[in-house]
Symmetry: C2
Subunit: 266 residues, 2 copies
Protein backbone atom coordinates (compact mmCIF):
# COMPACT_ATOMS: atom_id res chain seq x y z
CA UNK A 1 0.00 0.00 0.00
CA UNK A 2 1.56 3.19 -1.23
CA UNK A 3 0.71 6.25 0.86
CA UNK A 4 0.61 9.72 -0.72
CA UNK A 5 0.74 12.28 2.11
CA UNK A 6 -2.03 14.78 1.47
CA UNK A 7 -1.23 17.50 3.98
CA UNK A 8 0.65 20.01 1.79
CA UNK A 9 -2.48 20.97 -0.14
CA UNK A 10 -3.24 24.67 -0.55
CA UNK A 11 -6.96 24.05 -0.15
CA UNK A 12 -6.23 23.37 3.53
CA UNK A 13 -6.66 26.42 5.74
CA UNK A 14 -3.19 26.42 7.30
CA UNK A 15 -1.37 25.59 4.06
CA UNK A 16 -2.64 28.38 1.75
CA UNK A 17 -0.96 31.25 3.68
CA UNK A 18 2.20 29.18 4.20
CA UNK A 19 2.57 28.84 0.44
CA UNK A 20 1.62 32.41 -0.27
CA UNK A 21 4.21 33.66 2.25
CA UNK A 22 6.82 31.07 1.23
CA UNK A 23 6.97 29.75 4.79
CA UNK A 24 9.87 27.35 4.33
CA UNK A 25 9.87 26.07 7.91
CA UNK A 26 6.18 25.17 7.82
CA UNK A 27 6.60 23.20 4.60
CA UNK A 28 9.74 21.42 5.78
CA UNK A 29 8.06 20.40 9.01
CA UNK A 30 4.98 19.04 7.25
CA UNK A 31 7.10 17.17 4.69
CA UNK A 32 9.35 15.60 7.33
CA UNK A 33 6.46 14.58 9.54
CA UNK A 34 4.68 12.84 6.65
CA UNK A 35 7.85 11.07 5.52
CA UNK A 36 8.54 9.94 9.07
CA UNK A 37 4.97 8.61 9.34
CA UNK A 38 5.38 6.41 6.26
CA UNK A 39 4.40 8.47 3.19
CA UNK A 40 5.97 7.26 -0.08
CA UNK A 41 5.05 10.48 -1.93
CA UNK A 42 4.46 14.00 -0.66
CA UNK A 43 1.52 15.64 -2.44
CA UNK A 44 2.29 19.25 -3.43
CA UNK A 45 -0.64 21.49 -4.30
CA UNK A 46 -0.23 25.27 -4.71
CA UNK A 47 -3.35 25.92 -6.79
CA UNK A 48 -4.91 28.58 -4.53
CA UNK A 49 -2.24 31.14 -5.49
CA UNK A 50 -3.95 31.47 -8.90
CA UNK A 51 -3.11 30.08 -12.30
CA UNK A 52 -0.39 32.57 -13.26
CA UNK A 53 1.47 32.38 -9.97
CA UNK A 54 1.09 28.61 -9.64
CA UNK A 55 4.13 27.39 -11.64
CA UNK A 56 6.57 29.36 -9.49
CA UNK A 57 4.75 28.50 -6.25
CA UNK A 58 4.64 24.79 -7.07
CA UNK A 59 8.36 24.80 -7.94
CA UNK A 60 9.15 26.44 -4.62
CA UNK A 61 6.96 23.91 -2.80
CA UNK A 62 8.56 20.91 -4.49
CA UNK A 63 12.09 22.19 -3.94
CA UNK A 64 11.39 22.99 -0.30
CA UNK A 65 9.91 19.53 0.29
CA UNK A 66 12.78 17.75 -1.43
CA UNK A 67 15.33 19.82 0.50
CA UNK A 68 14.38 17.86 3.64
CA UNK A 69 12.98 14.51 2.49
CA UNK A 70 14.36 11.97 0.10
CA UNK A 71 10.98 11.20 -1.47
CA UNK A 72 9.28 11.92 -4.78
CA UNK A 73 6.32 14.30 -4.93
CA UNK A 74 2.81 14.03 -6.28
CA UNK A 75 2.53 17.15 -8.44
CA UNK A 76 -1.06 18.14 -7.72
CA UNK A 77 -2.48 20.48 -10.34
CA UNK A 78 -4.83 20.45 -13.33
CA UNK A 79 -2.59 23.14 -14.85
CA UNK A 80 -0.11 21.78 -17.43
CA UNK A 81 2.13 24.86 -17.13
CA UNK A 82 2.54 24.29 -13.38
CA UNK A 83 3.23 20.58 -13.87
CA UNK A 84 5.76 21.30 -16.61
CA UNK A 85 7.63 23.81 -14.45
CA UNK A 86 7.58 21.53 -11.40
CA UNK A 87 8.93 18.58 -13.43
CA UNK A 88 12.01 20.70 -14.23
CA UNK A 89 12.96 21.05 -10.57
CA UNK A 90 11.67 17.71 -9.25
CA UNK A 91 14.26 15.04 -8.41
CA UNK A 92 13.38 11.39 -9.05
CA UNK A 93 10.23 10.00 -10.64
CA UNK A 94 7.25 12.27 -9.99
CA UNK A 95 3.61 11.26 -9.75
CA UNK A 96 1.49 13.64 -11.83
CA UNK A 97 -1.79 14.29 -9.97
CA UNK A 98 -3.73 14.25 -12.22
CA UNK A 99 -4.87 13.75 -15.78
CA UNK A 100 -8.46 13.40 -16.99
CA UNK A 101 -10.01 12.50 -20.34
CA UNK A 102 -11.07 16.15 -20.82
CA UNK A 103 -9.94 16.97 -24.35
CA UNK A 104 -8.84 20.52 -23.51
CA UNK A 105 -6.20 19.25 -21.08
CA UNK A 106 -5.45 15.66 -22.00
CA UNK A 107 -2.86 16.13 -24.73
CA UNK A 108 -0.50 18.45 -22.87
CA UNK A 109 -0.53 16.39 -19.69
CA UNK A 110 -0.17 13.05 -21.49
CA UNK A 111 2.82 14.40 -23.41
CA UNK A 112 4.43 15.69 -20.19
CA UNK A 113 3.89 12.34 -18.46
CA UNK A 114 5.34 10.35 -21.35
CA UNK A 115 8.31 12.66 -21.99
CA UNK A 116 9.32 12.88 -18.34
CA UNK A 117 8.74 9.18 -17.60
CA UNK A 118 6.52 10.18 -14.69
CA UNK A 119 3.84 8.12 -13.05
CA UNK A 120 0.35 9.54 -13.45
CA UNK A 121 -3.01 9.53 -11.66
CA UNK A 122 -5.84 9.07 -14.18
CA UNK A 123 -9.16 10.47 -12.93
CA UNK A 124 -12.22 8.66 -14.28
CA UNK A 125 -13.84 11.77 -15.76
CA UNK A 126 -14.02 13.33 -19.23
CA UNK A 127 -15.70 16.03 -21.28
CA UNK A 128 -19.14 15.08 -19.95
CA UNK A 129 -18.07 15.72 -16.36
CA UNK A 130 -18.08 13.07 -13.66
CA UNK A 131 -19.97 9.93 -14.61
CA UNK A 132 -22.46 8.97 -11.93
CA UNK A 133 -22.36 5.19 -12.36
CA UNK A 134 -19.46 2.83 -11.75
CA UNK A 135 -19.86 1.46 -15.28
CA UNK A 136 -19.51 4.88 -16.90
CA UNK A 137 -16.45 5.68 -14.80
CA UNK A 138 -14.94 2.39 -15.90
CA UNK A 139 -15.52 3.37 -19.54
CA UNK A 140 -13.57 6.59 -19.05
CA UNK A 141 -10.85 4.77 -17.10
CA UNK A 142 -10.43 2.18 -19.86
CA UNK A 143 -10.12 4.92 -22.45
CA UNK A 144 -7.51 6.75 -20.35
CA UNK A 145 -5.46 3.60 -19.73
CA UNK A 146 -5.45 2.76 -23.44
CA UNK A 147 -4.60 6.30 -24.57
CA UNK A 148 -1.90 6.90 -21.95
CA UNK A 149 -0.30 3.59 -22.72
CA UNK A 150 -0.37 4.40 -26.47
CA UNK A 151 1.18 7.81 -25.67
CA UNK A 152 4.11 6.05 -24.02
CA UNK A 153 3.17 5.78 -20.33
CA UNK A 154 3.91 2.30 -19.00
CA UNK A 155 0.91 0.36 -17.66
CA UNK A 156 2.51 0.07 -14.21
CA UNK A 157 2.96 3.86 -14.07
CA UNK A 158 -0.81 4.47 -14.33
CA UNK A 159 -2.87 4.97 -11.16
CA UNK A 160 -6.61 4.96 -11.84
CA UNK A 161 -8.60 7.14 -9.43
CA UNK A 162 -12.29 6.14 -9.35
CA UNK A 163 -13.26 9.53 -7.81
CA UNK A 164 -14.46 9.55 -4.24
CA UNK A 165 -17.59 11.52 -3.30
CA UNK A 166 -19.30 11.87 0.08
CA UNK A 167 -21.65 9.13 1.26
CA UNK A 168 -23.62 11.93 2.90
CA UNK A 169 -24.84 13.04 -0.55
CA UNK A 170 -25.44 9.56 -2.04
CA UNK A 171 -25.30 6.31 -0.03
CA UNK A 172 -23.98 4.48 -3.12
CA UNK A 173 -20.87 6.67 -3.36
CA UNK A 174 -18.76 4.28 -1.29
CA UNK A 175 -19.81 1.09 -3.12
CA UNK A 176 -19.26 2.75 -6.48
CA UNK A 177 -15.60 3.40 -5.68
CA UNK A 178 -15.13 -0.20 -4.49
CA UNK A 179 -16.72 -1.52 -7.70
CA UNK A 180 -14.43 0.52 -9.95
CA UNK A 181 -11.36 -0.62 -7.97
CA UNK A 182 -12.38 -4.29 -8.18
CA UNK A 183 -13.07 -4.08 -11.89
CA UNK A 184 -9.83 -2.26 -12.77
CA UNK A 185 -7.82 -4.81 -10.77
CA UNK A 186 -9.51 -7.61 -12.68
CA UNK A 187 -9.19 -6.08 -16.15
CA UNK A 188 -5.71 -4.57 -15.81
CA UNK A 189 -3.59 -6.48 -13.28
CA UNK A 190 -0.64 -4.11 -13.84
CA UNK A 191 -2.54 -0.86 -13.40
CA UNK A 192 -2.62 0.65 -9.90
CA UNK A 193 -5.67 2.15 -8.22
CA UNK A 194 -5.55 5.19 -5.97
CA UNK A 195 -8.19 7.18 -4.09
CA UNK A 196 -8.45 10.46 -2.26
CA UNK A 197 -10.07 8.79 0.72
CA UNK A 198 -11.14 11.75 2.82
CA UNK A 199 -13.73 13.04 0.34
CA UNK A 200 -15.97 10.16 1.41
CA UNK A 201 -16.60 11.68 4.84
CA UNK A 202 -17.30 15.26 3.77
CA UNK A 203 -20.24 16.76 5.68
CA UNK A 204 -20.28 14.10 8.40
CA UNK A 205 -19.00 14.14 12.00
CA UNK A 206 -15.94 12.16 13.18
CA UNK A 207 -14.50 12.12 9.68
CA UNK A 208 -11.33 10.28 10.72
CA UNK A 209 -13.41 7.24 11.66
CA UNK A 210 -15.08 7.09 8.23
CA UNK A 211 -11.75 7.66 6.49
CA UNK A 212 -10.22 4.78 8.45
CA UNK A 213 -13.03 2.34 7.67
CA UNK A 214 -13.15 3.40 4.00
CA UNK A 215 -9.41 2.87 3.55
CA UNK A 216 -9.78 -0.69 4.85
CA UNK A 217 -12.84 -1.33 2.63
CA UNK A 218 -11.03 -0.04 -0.47
CA UNK A 219 -7.93 -2.13 0.32
CA UNK A 220 -10.24 -5.14 0.52
CA UNK A 221 -11.50 -4.25 -2.96
CA UNK A 222 -7.92 -4.08 -4.25
CA UNK A 223 -6.77 -0.48 -3.73
CA UNK A 224 -2.98 -0.31 -3.64
CA UNK A 225 -2.38 3.43 -3.19
CA UNK A 226 -4.17 6.15 -1.23
CA UNK A 227 -3.99 9.90 -0.79
CA UNK A 228 -4.40 10.24 2.97
CA UNK A 229 -3.11 11.96 6.07
CA UNK A 230 -0.23 9.75 7.28
CA UNK A 231 -0.21 11.58 10.61
CA UNK A 232 -3.44 9.76 11.51
CA UNK A 233 -1.75 7.01 13.52
CA UNK A 234 -4.92 4.94 13.83
CA UNK A 235 -5.32 4.97 10.05
CA UNK A 236 -1.70 3.95 9.49
CA UNK A 237 -2.08 1.17 12.09
CA UNK A 238 -5.21 -0.14 10.36
CA UNK A 239 -3.38 -0.12 7.01
CA UNK A 240 -0.57 -2.24 8.47
CA UNK A 241 -3.12 -4.64 9.98
CA UNK A 242 -5.09 -4.82 6.73
CA UNK A 243 -1.99 -5.69 4.70
CA UNK A 244 -1.38 -8.62 7.07
CA UNK A 245 -5.02 -9.73 6.79
CA UNK A 246 -4.93 -9.60 2.99
CA UNK A 247 -1.77 -11.72 2.79
CA UNK A 248 0.34 -8.77 1.60
CA UNK A 249 2.76 -8.91 4.54
CA UNK A 250 4.89 -12.05 4.47
CA UNK A 251 4.83 -13.87 7.83
CA UNK A 252 3.15 -10.69 9.18
CA UNK A 253 6.68 -9.36 9.64
CA UNK A 254 5.84 -5.68 9.04
CA UNK A 255 2.90 -5.98 11.41
CA UNK A 256 4.96 -7.63 14.13
CA UNK A 257 7.81 -5.11 13.68
CA UNK A 258 5.39 -2.20 13.97
CA UNK A 259 3.92 -3.73 17.14
CA UNK A 260 7.39 -4.19 18.64
CA UNK A 261 8.27 -0.58 17.80
CA UNK A 262 5.06 0.40 19.60
CA UNK A 263 3.72 2.00 16.42
CA UNK A 264 0.34 0.26 16.36
CA UNK A 265 -2.46 2.29 17.91
CA UNK A 266 -5.50 0.15 18.77
CA UNK B 1 -24.94 -5.97 10.87
CA UNK B 2 -26.03 -8.36 13.56
CA UNK B 3 -23.66 -8.60 16.52
CA UNK B 4 -23.40 -11.81 18.57
CA UNK B 5 -21.67 -10.95 21.85
CA UNK B 6 -18.91 -13.51 22.39
CA UNK B 7 -17.87 -12.81 25.96
CA UNK B 8 -19.82 -15.52 27.84
CA UNK B 9 -17.70 -18.33 26.45
CA UNK B 10 -16.30 -20.89 28.88
CA UNK B 11 -13.05 -21.13 26.93
CA UNK B 12 -12.27 -17.63 28.28
CA UNK B 13 -10.21 -17.70 31.45
CA UNK B 14 -12.54 -15.61 33.61
CA UNK B 15 -15.71 -17.28 32.36
CA UNK B 16 -14.92 -20.96 33.05
CA UNK B 17 -14.85 -20.62 36.87
CA UNK B 18 -17.88 -18.31 36.82
CA UNK B 19 -19.91 -21.03 35.11
CA UNK B 20 -18.49 -23.82 37.26
CA UNK B 21 -19.36 -21.89 40.43
CA UNK B 22 -22.70 -20.65 39.06
CA UNK B 23 -21.63 -17.03 39.60
CA UNK B 24 -24.94 -15.38 38.75
CA UNK B 25 -23.73 -11.82 39.25
CA UNK B 26 -20.78 -12.25 36.89
CA UNK B 27 -23.00 -13.62 34.14
CA UNK B 28 -25.67 -10.95 34.59
CA UNK B 29 -23.06 -8.20 34.42
CA UNK B 30 -21.48 -9.59 31.24
CA UNK B 31 -24.87 -10.08 29.60
CA UNK B 32 -26.10 -6.59 30.46
CA UNK B 33 -22.89 -4.93 29.31
CA UNK B 34 -23.00 -6.69 25.94
CA UNK B 35 -26.69 -5.87 25.43
CA UNK B 36 -26.03 -2.24 26.31
CA UNK B 37 -23.14 -2.14 23.82
CA UNK B 38 -25.36 -3.27 20.95
CA UNK B 39 -25.32 -7.09 20.87
CA UNK B 40 -28.38 -8.65 19.21
CA UNK B 41 -27.59 -12.14 20.58
CA UNK B 42 -25.67 -13.24 23.66
CA UNK B 43 -23.47 -16.25 22.94
CA UNK B 44 -23.68 -18.86 25.72
CA UNK B 45 -20.96 -21.50 25.88
CA UNK B 46 -20.57 -23.81 28.88
CA UNK B 47 -18.59 -26.58 27.17
CA UNK B 48 -15.63 -26.62 29.56
CA UNK B 49 -17.72 -28.20 32.35
CA UNK B 50 -17.61 -31.48 30.42
CA UNK B 51 -20.16 -33.22 28.24
CA UNK B 52 -22.32 -34.74 30.98
CA UNK B 53 -22.56 -31.56 33.04
CA UNK B 54 -23.01 -29.30 30.02
CA UNK B 55 -26.80 -29.49 29.52
CA UNK B 56 -27.52 -28.29 33.04
CA UNK B 57 -24.76 -25.65 32.96
CA UNK B 58 -25.92 -24.29 29.60
CA UNK B 59 -29.53 -24.09 30.84
CA UNK B 60 -28.39 -22.17 33.91
CA UNK B 61 -26.31 -19.84 31.73
CA UNK B 62 -29.18 -19.13 29.31
CA UNK B 63 -31.69 -18.57 32.11
CA UNK B 64 -29.32 -16.28 33.97
CA UNK B 65 -28.62 -14.24 30.83
CA UNK B 66 -32.31 -13.96 29.93
CA UNK B 67 -33.18 -12.93 33.50
CA UNK B 68 -31.50 -9.58 32.85
CA UNK B 69 -31.59 -8.96 29.11
CA UNK B 70 -34.44 -9.14 26.66
CA UNK B 71 -32.35 -10.76 23.93
CA UNK B 72 -32.13 -14.21 22.36
CA UNK B 73 -29.06 -16.35 22.90
CA UNK B 74 -26.64 -18.13 20.60
CA UNK B 75 -26.56 -21.65 22.04
CA UNK B 76 -22.90 -22.46 21.58
CA UNK B 77 -22.21 -26.20 21.71
CA UNK B 78 -21.47 -29.10 19.38
CA UNK B 79 -23.40 -31.28 21.86
CA UNK B 80 -26.98 -32.00 20.76
CA UNK B 81 -28.06 -32.93 24.31
CA UNK B 82 -26.93 -29.53 25.63
CA UNK B 83 -28.66 -27.69 22.75
CA UNK B 84 -31.86 -29.68 23.27
CA UNK B 85 -31.94 -28.91 27.00
CA UNK B 86 -31.17 -25.22 26.45
CA UNK B 87 -33.90 -24.88 23.83
CA UNK B 88 -36.41 -25.98 26.51
CA UNK B 89 -35.59 -23.02 28.76
CA UNK B 90 -34.71 -20.41 26.10
CA UNK B 91 -37.24 -17.65 25.45
CA UNK B 92 -37.65 -16.33 21.90
CA UNK B 93 -35.94 -17.60 18.76
CA UNK B 94 -32.53 -19.04 19.55
CA UNK B 95 -29.50 -19.16 17.27
CA UNK B 96 -27.97 -22.64 17.35
CA UNK B 97 -24.17 -22.31 17.25
CA UNK B 98 -23.44 -24.54 15.43
CA UNK B 99 -24.12 -27.36 13.02
CA UNK B 100 -21.59 -28.99 10.65
CA UNK B 101 -21.91 -31.53 7.86
CA UNK B 102 -20.31 -34.19 10.09
CA UNK B 103 -22.60 -37.20 9.75
CA UNK B 104 -22.31 -38.22 13.40
CA UNK B 105 -23.89 -34.96 14.57
CA UNK B 106 -25.81 -33.50 11.66
CA UNK B 107 -29.12 -35.34 11.98
CA UNK B 108 -29.80 -34.58 15.65
CA UNK B 109 -28.92 -30.90 15.34
CA UNK B 110 -30.82 -30.41 12.08
CA UNK B 111 -33.92 -31.98 13.64
CA UNK B 112 -33.62 -29.75 16.72
CA UNK B 113 -33.23 -26.64 14.56
CA UNK B 114 -36.20 -27.49 12.37
CA UNK B 115 -38.51 -28.58 15.22
CA UNK B 116 -37.76 -25.54 17.38
CA UNK B 117 -37.86 -23.05 14.52
CA UNK B 118 -34.42 -21.80 15.57
CA UNK B 119 -31.88 -19.99 13.47
CA UNK B 120 -28.68 -21.93 12.92
CA UNK B 121 -25.01 -21.31 12.20
CA UNK B 122 -23.73 -23.72 9.55
CA UNK B 123 -19.97 -24.30 9.75
CA UNK B 124 -18.33 -25.10 6.43
CA UNK B 125 -16.80 -28.40 7.56
CA UNK B 126 -17.76 -32.06 7.25
CA UNK B 127 -16.51 -35.61 7.80
CA UNK B 128 -13.19 -34.85 6.12
CA UNK B 129 -12.41 -32.06 8.60
CA UNK B 130 -11.90 -28.45 7.65
CA UNK B 131 -11.43 -27.92 3.91
CA UNK B 132 -8.34 -25.83 3.25
CA UNK B 133 -9.54 -24.05 0.09
CA UNK B 134 -12.39 -21.57 -0.27
CA UNK B 135 -13.89 -23.72 -3.05
CA UNK B 136 -14.05 -26.82 -0.86
CA UNK B 137 -15.61 -24.87 2.01
CA UNK B 138 -18.20 -23.57 -0.43
CA UNK B 139 -19.02 -27.14 -1.44
CA UNK B 140 -19.72 -28.07 2.18
CA UNK B 141 -21.67 -24.86 2.74
CA UNK B 142 -23.87 -25.52 -0.32
CA UNK B 143 -24.58 -29.04 0.90
CA UNK B 144 -25.50 -27.74 4.37
CA UNK B 145 -27.78 -25.02 3.01
CA UNK B 146 -29.60 -27.51 0.78
CA UNK B 147 -29.95 -30.17 3.49
CA UNK B 148 -31.01 -27.77 6.24
CA UNK B 149 -33.57 -26.18 3.97
CA UNK B 150 -34.91 -29.63 3.01
CA UNK B 151 -35.09 -30.51 6.73
CA UNK B 152 -37.35 -27.51 7.29
CA UNK B 153 -35.02 -24.65 8.23
CA UNK B 154 -35.93 -21.47 6.35
CA UNK B 155 -33.23 -20.06 4.07
CA UNK B 156 -33.20 -16.76 5.99
CA UNK B 157 -32.61 -18.65 9.26
CA UNK B 158 -29.30 -20.08 8.02
CA UNK B 159 -26.02 -18.32 8.86
CA UNK B 160 -23.07 -19.75 6.95
CA UNK B 161 -19.77 -19.52 8.84
CA UNK B 162 -16.77 -19.78 6.48
CA UNK B 163 -14.44 -20.67 9.41
CA UNK B 164 -11.87 -18.12 10.43
CA UNK B 165 -8.26 -19.22 11.04
CA UNK B 166 -5.23 -17.14 12.03
CA UNK B 167 -3.35 -15.23 9.33
CA UNK B 168 -0.25 -15.97 11.41
CA UNK B 169 -0.42 -19.61 10.31
CA UNK B 170 -1.38 -19.01 6.66
CA UNK B 171 -1.41 -15.57 4.97
CA UNK B 172 -4.34 -16.70 2.78
CA UNK B 173 -6.63 -17.36 5.76
CA UNK B 174 -8.15 -13.88 5.64
CA UNK B 175 -8.80 -13.81 1.88
CA UNK B 176 -10.30 -17.29 2.00
CA UNK B 177 -12.98 -16.12 4.43
CA UNK B 178 -13.75 -13.09 2.29
CA UNK B 179 -14.08 -15.26 -0.81
CA UNK B 180 -16.55 -17.65 0.83
CA UNK B 181 -18.64 -14.72 2.10
CA UNK B 182 -18.75 -13.09 -1.36
CA UNK B 183 -19.69 -16.32 -3.07
CA UNK B 184 -22.43 -17.27 -0.58
CA UNK B 185 -23.95 -13.77 -0.89
CA UNK B 186 -23.99 -14.14 -4.66
CA UNK B 187 -25.39 -17.66 -4.79
CA UNK B 188 -27.89 -17.41 -1.93
CA UNK B 189 -29.11 -13.82 -1.45
CA UNK B 190 -31.34 -14.90 1.47
CA UNK B 191 -28.70 -16.80 3.42
CA UNK B 192 -26.75 -14.86 6.06
CA UNK B 193 -23.02 -15.08 6.64
CA UNK B 194 -21.41 -14.96 10.07
CA UNK B 195 -17.83 -15.18 11.31
CA UNK B 196 -16.02 -15.61 14.60
CA UNK B 197 -13.73 -12.70 13.82
CA UNK B 198 -11.18 -12.92 16.61
CA UNK B 199 -9.69 -16.24 15.48
CA UNK B 200 -7.98 -14.33 12.67
CA UNK B 201 -5.59 -12.59 15.07
CA UNK B 202 -4.57 -15.61 17.15
CA UNK B 203 -0.83 -15.61 17.91
CA UNK B 204 -0.27 -11.98 16.92
CA UNK B 205 0.17 -8.84 19.04
CA UNK B 206 -2.45 -6.06 19.27
CA UNK B 207 -5.22 -8.48 18.37
CA UNK B 208 -7.98 -5.87 18.72
CA UNK B 209 -6.49 -3.93 15.80
CA UNK B 210 -6.55 -6.98 13.51
CA UNK B 211 -10.07 -7.88 14.66
CA UNK B 212 -11.25 -4.34 13.87
CA UNK B 213 -9.74 -4.30 10.38
CA UNK B 214 -10.95 -7.82 9.61
CA UNK B 215 -14.52 -7.00 10.61
CA UNK B 216 -14.50 -4.07 8.16
CA UNK B 217 -12.96 -6.21 5.39
CA UNK B 218 -15.55 -8.97 5.88
CA UNK B 219 -18.41 -6.43 5.89
CA UNK B 220 -17.06 -5.16 2.58
CA UNK B 221 -17.24 -8.72 1.26
CA UNK B 222 -20.88 -8.98 2.41
CA UNK B 223 -20.75 -10.31 5.98
CA UNK B 224 -23.98 -9.43 7.80
CA UNK B 225 -23.39 -10.99 11.23
CA UNK B 226 -20.33 -11.38 13.44
CA UNK B 227 -19.38 -13.06 16.69
CA UNK B 228 -17.33 -10.37 18.39
CA UNK B 229 -16.70 -8.53 21.63
CA UNK B 230 -19.23 -5.66 21.62
CA UNK B 231 -17.36 -4.01 24.51
CA UNK B 232 -14.62 -3.05 22.04
CA UNK B 233 -15.89 0.48 21.44
CA UNK B 234 -13.50 1.10 18.56
CA UNK B 235 -14.77 -2.00 16.81
CA UNK B 236 -18.42 -1.02 17.32
CA UNK B 237 -17.64 2.50 16.02
CA UNK B 238 -15.98 1.10 12.91
CA UNK B 239 -19.01 -1.13 12.28
CA UNK B 240 -21.33 1.89 12.44
CA UNK B 241 -19.03 3.81 10.06
CA UNK B 242 -18.77 0.85 7.68
CA UNK B 243 -22.55 0.46 7.47
CA UNK B 244 -22.77 4.12 6.40
CA UNK B 245 -19.98 3.65 3.83
CA UNK B 246 -21.68 0.56 2.36
CA UNK B 247 -25.02 2.34 1.95
CA UNK B 248 -26.66 0.27 4.72
CA UNK B 249 -27.53 3.27 6.89
CA UNK B 250 -30.16 5.47 5.29
CA UNK B 251 -29.08 9.14 5.24
CA UNK B 252 -26.27 8.04 7.61
CA UNK B 253 -28.83 8.51 10.40
CA UNK B 254 -27.48 5.79 12.69
CA UNK B 255 -23.97 7.14 12.21
CA UNK B 256 -24.99 10.72 12.94
CA UNK B 257 -27.05 9.64 15.98
CA UNK B 258 -24.13 7.68 17.37
CA UNK B 259 -21.84 10.69 16.87
CA UNK B 260 -24.32 12.96 18.65
CA UNK B 261 -24.58 10.51 21.54
CA UNK B 262 -20.77 10.61 21.70
CA UNK B 263 -20.60 6.88 21.05
CA UNK B 264 -18.12 6.99 18.18
CA UNK B 265 -14.54 6.41 19.25
CA UNK B 266 -12.05 7.50 16.59
Amino acid sequence: MLVVGERLNSTRKSVAPAIKNRDTEFVKKEASAQAEAGAAYIDCNAATVGKDAEPEALCWLVETVQSVVDLPCALDSPNAAAIEAALQVHRGTALINSITAESSKYDDLARLAAESGSKVIALAMGDDGIPSTAEDRLKVARELVANLNRAGVAIEDIFVDPLVFPVSSDPENGRRVMQVIEQIREEYPGVHTIAGISNVSHGLPKRFLLNQAFTVLCMGAGLDAAIIDPLDERLMSLIIATRALLGQDEFCMDYISAARADKLIV
